[in-house]
Each structure stands twice: as structure tokens, then as C-alpha cells.
């Protein structure tokens, strides 16, 4: 590790009293040693952080113009779109920013699963990440209710109604709503939570990064670095690589915001909420479709458990099961590169999630219902049966002797001279 030695007298004066500059240097600067072989799939962590910041900034500005009242919310959003300077831009960035946040975080999560990033000693890092996903879902759901369109209202009703599946459900739901149906009190509390939760997410993100820095990033070959020749300083190598990734991300994001801002939304949410007109087809935002498909796949009671309750449990279970992945997958090999069977099952699982997304967007009737049921069973089968069995029976490929070996010509472990150059420079 390089020592942080500032030359600027002002920075030295501050650093002596509050070591904030060395803190930043160790977090995202030249003082953070990072595996030299990270590929572009490792860009999505920092992208998620930037997506979050974009959402918080646009959200705070939108909150200055939005009115959280059942009678005025819809019109106040239209006022933002029409009369507020660049209000349309802020709202479209915020709206599509949520979608892009989920795209980035899902890729980040899939990367973690593919490369076994959740394995010892990074189990807590992984679990904090799953917690972040749950917080994001709560934030996205409460945010979707705020424009008070038809789907805002009916999504709130359908989702909160799930709690009636539990004992004392009616009481719980009345308490959640602040009344006997979704109404103004519901909108007000959802707004309060929607403003609060992003800051909770920021706090948990700091824990995520804290846990990350304990052992540093995992990497595509999944073995730990065994010397300085395997690592390079985060700055400038990964700051510039992340910046390039950010450029690509912003270009795609801008294409959506400026040229197809409503592509990922539902048209009917431009109709104001009406408690007496149920939309023919209630669907959640695209990033919730797999869970929605699992919820609706359960069409039969089992013993004293109602179909609804089982559906709700499985829906929450589909995310909660991620907490257990570090213990369901006991394979000593992290990266799917050296796990010939797991690699296949990983992609089958990704395909399964895509199928669930597609099923979730359609009505729960045959053939979608049956496809959804098969896909739901496979989703859990993958985690509960395949992962533990692979841990026992999978013949894994031999691991490289060091991180440097596959990336450096002529073998990295012994090439102390050329390979260790970067960290000396730092």
C-alpha cells in the first residue's frame, strides 16, 4: 500500500486534523489496490452508485414542484412536464433513471452470481447487496405510486392487498393504507417513504463499500491476489475504465430519455387514478415482472395455506433466497470459468428469469400460466437443489496459479519485474 503524502500545505493542514483525503484515496484513489484482471462486468458497481446519485438529485428537485395529494398529484406532475423550466427533462431522467438503476444493479448481481463473488470471505458484502436490492424495490414501488395515474393507484392496491394473505391481514392493510382503501393518507406516507429510503440506501451503500474494502474486489478468475504484482491502484486504472463505462452508460441513457422516454412505461398511467375503474390489465414496472409472474403462478391451495399466501411467500422468497446463496453453493471454486457445469446452469437460470419477465407481462392464462409455473419451479430448484448438488459432484477445472498468469504474457507470478511496475508507480 502506498502512503498518502500530500504536498499542498492546505491539504496537509486539514489532513493532519481530519484525515479525509487519505480516506478518499484509500476508498477510490491510488491507495486502493485492485486486482489487475477485472473485466467490464466490474463496471456496474460504480455505475449503480452514479445512477443512485442521479436519482437523488433529480428527485430532490422534482419534490420542490410535486404535490403529494390525491386531488393534485396527477396535475402537479403534468405541471412539471409543461410549465416548470426543464421539468420534462428532470422527470424523464428520474423516471427512466429508475429503470436504468435496476438494469445496472441486476447486471451487477448476475455478475456476482457468475463469478462467485459472494463466497467466503465476502458473504456479508453480498448480503448487504441483497438488502440494497430490497430497499431499491421499496423505493421504486413507493415512487411509482406518486404520479397517481391508473397503474400507480392499482399497483398500490394490488401490492398492499397481498398482506391480507397473512393472519390479521385486514388490520395490517388498513394500517398500511391509513384508511379503508388506498387514498390520500396512503399517497402521503408513500411520499414520505420515497423521500426517506434513498438516504437509507446511501447509508447501506457505504456499508457495502466498507465490506468490499475489507478484502477488496473479487475478480474473473476468482482466486485471491498473492502479491503486489497481481494488483494495480484503483486510480488511475479503474477510475478511467469506470469513466469510459459511464460514457457508454450515459449515451444509452440519453437515447432513452430524449427519444423514447415513455417506452418502458405503461400508457394507462397517463390516465388519472380512478378507484372505480379497474384497468383491464394491471402490470407492474418491467423490473418487477419476474416476481409478479411467481406470485401469480400459484393457483392452488395446499392444505391450510391459501394460494394467495403461498404466492406471496414465494414472491418474497425469490429475493430472500439470495441471502442464502453463499451457503447453498459450497463449491470451493468461485468463478464459473472453472466450473463447466455451473456455467451452463447459470445461463439457464438467466434465461429462466427472462421467461418469468415475459410471463409477468402477460395475463395468467394458459399457456403463460403453465410456462410461468415451470419457470417458477426452476427458479427455486436452481438455488435449492442444483447449487448444493453441483458443490458435491461438479468436476472443476484447474485454477491458474495467480491472477497475473492469464493476463500477462510469459506468466505473472514469477514476472516480478514487469508485472509489479504499476504498484511501484503508485
Amino acid at each position: 500500500m502506498s502512503e498518502f503524502k500530500p504536498t499542498n500545505p492546505v491539504i496537509r493542514w486539514i489532513e493532519h486534523r481530519l484525515p479525509i483525503f487519505s480516506f478518499i484515496d484509500h476508498a477510490v484513489g491510488s491507495g486502493y489496490p485492485t486486482p489487475r484482471n477485472l473485466n467490464y462486468w466490474w463496471n456496474y458497481g460504480s455505475l449503480a452508485g452514479i445512477a443512485l446519485v442521479i436519482l437523488i438529485i433529480t428527485g430532490i428537485v422534482l419534490a420542490m414542484q410535486y404535490t403529494p395529494h390525491a386531488d393534485y398529484a396527477f396535475d402537479s406532475v403534468e405541471r412539471i412536464m409543461r410549465d416548470v423550466n426543464y421539468g420534462w427533462l428532470l422527470r424523464y431522467i428520474h423516471m427512466n433513471g429508475a429503470s436504468f438503476f435496476f438494469i445496472v444493479v441486476y447486471i451487477h448481481l448476475f455478475r456476482g452470481l457468475y463469478y462467485g463473488s459472494y463466497k467466503e470471505p465476502r458473504e456479508l458484502l453480498w448480503m448487504i447487496g441483497v438488502t440494497l436490492l430490497l430497499l431499491m424495490m421499496a423505493t421504486a414501488f413507493t415512487g411509482y405510486v406518486l404520479p397517481w395515474g391508473q397503474l400507480s393507484y392499482w399497483a398500490a392496491r394490488v401490492i398492499t392487498n397481498m398482506f391480507t394473505a397473512f393472519p390479521f391481514g385486514e388490520t395490517i392493510v388498513t394500517w398500511l393504507w391509513g384508511g379503508y382503501t388506498v387514498g390520500n393518507p396512503t399517497l402521503n406516507r408513500f411520499y414520505a417513504f420515497h423521500y426517506l429510503l434513498p438516504f437509507v440506501i446511501v447509508g447501506v451503500v457505504f456499508m457495502h463499500i466498507w465490506a468490499l474494502h475489507r478484502f477488496g474486489s473479487s475478480n474473473p478468475v476468482g482466486i485471491e491476489a498473492d502479491g503486489p504484482q497481481d494488483k494495480i491502484p484503483f486510480h488511475p486504472y479503474y477510475t478511467v475504465k469506470d469513466l469510459f463505462g459511464l460514457g457508454v452508460y450515459l449515451t444509452l441513457f440519453a437515447a432513452l430519455v430524449f427519444f423514447a422516454p415513455n417506452m418502458l412505461g405503461e400508457t394507462i398511467n397517463y390516465v388519472e387514478a380512478d378507484p372505480l375503474v379497474t384497468p383491464a390489465h394491471i402490470v407492474p414496472e418491467w423490473y418487477f415482472l419476474p416476481y409478479y409472474a411467481i406470485l401469480r403462478s400459484v393457483t392452488f391451495d395446499i392444505w391450510f395455506l391459501s394460494a394467495k399466501l403461498i404466492g406471496v411467500i414465494l414472491m418474497f422468497g425469490s429475493t430472500l433466497i439470495l441471502f442464502l446463496v453463499p451457503w447453498l453453493d459450497r463449491s470451493p471454486v468461485r468463478s464459473a470459468r472453472f466450473r463447466p457445469w455451473y456455467k451452463w446452469f447459470f445461463w439457464i437460470w438467466v434465461f429462466d428469469v427472462a421467461v418469468l419477465t415475459w410471463v409477468g407481462a402477460n395475463l395468467p392464462v394458459p399457456p403463460y400460466l403453465y410456462i410461468g409455473q415451470v419457470a417458477s419451479v426452476w427458479y427455486f430448484f436452481h438455488f435449492l437443489v442444483i447449487l448444493p448438488l453441483l458443490s458435491i459432484f461438479e468436476p472443476t477445472k484447474p485454477l491458474p496459479s495467480s491472477i497475473g498468469e492469464p493476463v500477462l504474457k510469459g506468466g505473472g507470478a514469477s514476472a516480478a519485474g514487469a508485472a509489479s511496475k504499476p504498484m511501484e508507480k503508485a
Binding site: M81, K241, F259, T267, V271
Partner: protein, 252 residues
């Protein structure tokens, strides 16, 4: 008031539910609009004609409550013209110093007055179905401009075996085909000031052009800005890629 809205909505919901059962989707044909595509912009002349169609035909039943007269500047009208259009309307203002509501001519800051005092009145005048507000219509229906155009020109005689109630019309594109909206456009329903022949097809595409703007008034600014932003980002990302290559050159 709330009860009235609820009652009206119930009737409307009932009508919709009844028609939805027979639903059989017909996709509206895709049309080439002046505003489609990355460089697409609104057609001022078509919008002005569309405004005329809205005012002389649609406005009899449909409100346009999110649009103020001052917004018509975007159609290419000058201040005087906007003041003149607004003054043709009577709006209810007040209360005055005596506590009375009073009527006055419209001003540019006023929004288009709605044809009915409330949804109950709208339902009573339309056999129980409330004509929806048109401000956001193009964004509020799947198919958007294509769908609304197809709907306006999609009235045909019902196929054999389909019985219509007096208040129903058969439309190829309306979900379920049975709609409470009578065919709104007929040849020469309006007399265009610029001499354009007022065919049903022309009036439909003009009013859709106008409503596309009411639904998304910032579209032109959005696309113009978007082109600049994308061009900047492409160049900037290219530069970042070059920097990345340079910084990493010593490692490989």
C-alpha cells in the same frame, strides 16, 4: 360532488366492462407522422387545422383541461391571435368583492373551458359514458397517434349478427369494437381557412397532430437537445476510451 363522480364512473366502468368482453384486437396501421422519428417535429399548419377541428367538433363533448390559450403560441400564433381566440370563450371567474361568481371573456392565461360542468353532467348528456379529457390522449392509449387516427376513421357498419344499441357505434379499432362515441367526423364538418379540403382522413390526421402536441408539448425541445447531448456524449466517450487505452497501455 364526489358521489356524482363515483356514480358516473360506475356507469362508465359498466359500459367498458360490457364491451371489453367481446374484445378482439385489431392493430392500428402504423402511419408516418411529421413528429415521428429522431428528427421528427410538429407540423404547424396541421396543428392549427387540428385546433380548429378540436374547437368545432371534439370540444362539444371532450375537455382539454391541461391546455391554456397561452400555450397556443407553440402552434405559431401571435399574441394578438391568442388573445382573440381566448376572448371567444366565456369563463367563470370569482368570487368578486360581493362574493359573487361572474362571467368574463377568456384571457391567454385561462385554460380551455370544459364542455360540461362536472363528470355527472357529462355522463347525463352522453348516455352515461363520460367523454375522456383529450390533453394526454395520445400518450394514454397503446398505439398513440396511430390508434387515435385509426379510431377516428375506423367506423364501419357492424358485421352480421352484431346488434347495436341506439347509443353504440361499431369501430374496427376500439377495444371490443362497440363504442359510445358516435362517428365524430363527416366530410366538410369544418371549413378550413387555408382552403385544405376537409376530408375525414385529413381532419383526423390534423386533430391527431394537434393532440400529439397537447400530450407532449416539450417534444421538439427534447429532441433538439437530445441530438446535441448524444453527439457530445459520443465524442466524449470516444475521448475517454482513448484515455483508458493510454493509461492501460503500460500494463498489457
Amino acid at each position: 360532488m364526489k358521489k356524482l363522480i363515483i356514480a358516473a364512473a360506475v356507469v362508465f366502468a359498466g359500459l367498458q366492462a360490457g364491451t371489453a368482453r367481446a374484445a378482439e384486437d385489431t392493430d392500428p396501421p402504423a402511419r408516418d407522422w411529421s413528429f415521428s422519428g429522431v428528427f421528427g417535429q410538429y407540423d404547424r399548419a396541421a396543428m392549427q387545422r387540428g385546433l380548429q377541428v378540436y374547437r368545432e367538433v371534439c370540444a362539444g363533448c371532450h375537455s382539454l383541461r391541461l391546455i391554456a390559450f397561452r400555450n397556443l403560441e407553440a402552434l405559431g400564433y401571435g399574441e394578438d391571435e391568442i388573445e382573440a381566440i381566448a376572448a371567444e370563450y366565456t369563463v367563470v371567474d370569482g368570487p368578486d368583492d360581493e362574493g359573487e361568481m361572474f362571467e368574463r371573456p377568456g384571457l391567454p392565461a385561462d385554460r380551455f373551458p370544459s364542455p360540461f360542468a362536472n363528470p355527472k353532467a357529462a355522463a347525463a348528456a352522453n348516455n352515461g359514458a363520460v367523454p375522456p379529457d383529450l390533453s394526454l390522449m395520445i400518450k394514454a392509449r397503446d398505439g398513440g397517434a396511430d390508434y387515435v387516427h385509426a379510431l377516428l376513421t375506423g367506423y364501419v357498419d357492424p358485421p352480421d349478427g352484431v346488434e347495436l344499441l341506439d347509443v353504440q357505434s361499431y369501430n374496427l379499432y376500439f377495444p371490443g369494437h362497440l363504442t359510445a362515441m358516435a362517428p365524430p367526423l363527416s366530410e366538410d364538418a369544418v371549413a378550413y381557412g387555408d382552403g385544405t379540403p376537409a376530408t375525414v382522413e385529413r381532419m383526423a390526421s390534423d386533430v391527431v397532430s394537434f393532440l400529439a402536441w397537447t400530450a407532449e408539448p416539450a417534444m421538439e425541445e427534447r429532441k433538439r437537445m437530445g441530438i446535441k447531448v448524444i453527439l457530445f456524449l459520443l465524442v466524449f466517450t470516444g475521448v475517454l476510451y482513448a484515455v483508458k487505452r493510454k493509461v492501460w497501455a503500460g500494463l498489457h
